[in-house]
Symmetry: C3
Amino acid sequence: MTPPHPEITPAACAETLQTFRDTGPLVQSLTNTVVTNWTANVLLAAGAAPAMVDNPHEAAEFAAVAGGVLVNLGTPQVETIAAMEEAVRGASAAGTPWVLDPVAAGGLSWRTEVGRRLLSLHEPPAIVRGNASEILGLAGGAGGRGVDSTDTAETALDAAHALACEHGTVVAVSGEVDHITDGTRLVRVHNGHVLLTRVTGVGCSLGALMAGVAAVTDDRVLAATTATALLTIAAEAAATESRGPGSFAVALLDQLALITPEGLESRLRIDGGTA
Amino acid sequence: MTPPHPEITPAACAETLQTFRDTGPLVQSLTNTVVTNWTANVLLAAGAAPAMVDNPHEAAEFAAVAGGVLVNLGTPQVETIAAMEEAVRGASAAGTPWVLDPVAAGGLSWRTEVGRRLLSLHEPPAIVRGNASEILGLAGGAGGRGVDSTDTAETALDAAHALACEHGTVVAVSGEVDHITDGTRLVRVHNGHVLLTRVTGVGCSLGALMAGVAAVTDDRVLAATTATALLTIAAEAAATESRGPGSFAVALLDQLALITPEGLESRLRIDGGTA
Amino acid sequence: MTPPHPEITPAACAETLQTFRDTGPLVQSLTNTVVTNWTANVLLAAGAAPAMVDNPHEAAEFAAVAGGVLVNLGTPQVETIAAMEEAVRGASAAGTPWVLDPVAAGGLSWRTEVGRRLLSLHEPPAIVRGNASEILGLAGGAGGRGVDSTDTAETALDAAHALACEHGTVVAVSGEVDHITDGTRLVRVHNGHVLLTRVTGVGCSLGALMAGVAAVTDDRVLAATTATALLTIAAEAAATESRGPGSFAVALLDQLALITPEGLESRLRIDGGTA
């Protein structure tokens, strides 16, 4: 029998990546207008099938057949917010896991309210992903400036723990070290590269990858960790062969396709403990 | 005198590409939010002039001066659907050829209705372009999952033939082998590369290229074949010099600019017959 | 004491670029759907922090904390125009410089009216940036076809001068030679490369760079010149190492990060005079 809180190991992440590649999950992305193309290309490179169905007439219908759903608040408009609510309704009814990325929560009041409403509307998100300022902002603190985090991941750990426990979700705090917690387990991922901060939408695409991996495993901590591992290890490999943000972005897409489960297992640097 | 149904040959495609490059047609793209940037860059690389005028206040006005118009249903919203209807009205009144790309038709009911309404609203599209599931869905069958085709191009040939005859249009079914028919002629294009399925929006940009080539020739089968030839031959060349989806997309844009009419003629593998 | 109209020199531009890099200004971009991703990546590569807050509920709130604001009319919709008006209101109240890019002004009547209304709504823009056709169109003449300029920069100089004097703004006319004037001074930038016309959104991203540099200097002619210098010099360097529009776009992003203030100073070819 599987224990209720299995340990997150590089081997488990590698196995999950293999399942993800074998499955090619359909990921519905309701995301911001800056990163739609990038997000779709990240999903395709990694091995998933992207689809953006972000109108209120079809969002629920599609969430019922999608493997996972991403809701990203980067550029909310009245019509797309209505679509997000429909997508969450459809996902909740169908048991489809969904990921909330509360971009700029705390820093801007309108979207902060939208994010908090989505948290409690139907089923909770499988994963909430943000930088430290956004997690603090969603949990009730003051936010950063736009999409930048003005806080380190560590400072948001109490807020992440509280959000995870209150809503029965997993919270992933991106930063120089990524932190992932369900309120019981805490995983730290030490991979990554500073060039990730020089390409727009990398964090947003991580949320989409998490929605994709959540489609193939019920352990949401494992899903968030595997997605983070894939992206940050691909970034390390890409950085060695690029000389600026343009060539880095291209190499990152290549590496997302080239990284094997074995490569991921050997390069992944995680530790953890109790939240 | 030109026969009413001239044979489609590599030489005719090469000549059409030369005219396209000499003309630099203005292509109005009302397309989905995932592929706007990619579509514009594909058009620019190939030698056309892209413009996205997708609001209902200006869409008809612009369609009257554009060389060709693309209407792509990938991410419909109420305001952009109104713009599409205006664009089709303006194009029809001015005699501007327009292309319909019924993304995910059959799979999602709202947009399927939109696609069918656009087909019969004013002048029919010069070309309908989609994968097999979308063509089947538009014609009345069940569709696939999102933008993926779960059917091969061959299975959609009866539906393509019926659509072409009923609406007086050309239907292009994308797939491992591309099929293009006006109900009388049938052309099969055997070029292409599997990496085309790992970059988002390639099919969507093919629709835009078709709208551009339709601006320079009245033979819509020739237009659809020339556009398909250019994209798939550029893809073959790009694939030899890339190692993943990121570098492939970059090389594809380069090759769209580098492929000459002579190169296209020598590499094009088509056959045909009677539909 | 600084003279009211200091001369624009390569050394002054280099110093301004250094300040820009040291500051990393937050640039709010309300831009068209074709270029959102590209614009954000250009800003990140150059050293700024992009944020697109383009809904009417938050645009004013964010303009108060942004370093600079870009308003680009490429794909206006009712909701985003309302956001642009809010952003200009917020920027004007807070003293945040904003840049107007009147894409396709003159060629399309609805957006031309929007552009003229924005000019006089609150504080004037710090900089108006467009190609010759757009500047002529905004000033009252007939425009070009879409985003293409059918006029040379020189033909728009009278219109640029008139706009600058009437509204107390700086007008930057992009072209083979870029012209920048405040009605008193006139700067010509002779750098650049023809491949800039084969990648979508380069002009649009120049407007965003100008909003970013305007955040770090009160001399708007210097800001517009420095932004133009950075982009066109990066383009020259990128062109030497690319073979088509795809690889050029990648190299351009790399070069925007690699160009140093010293490199900019040594390569910049400007002259000027009295407008």
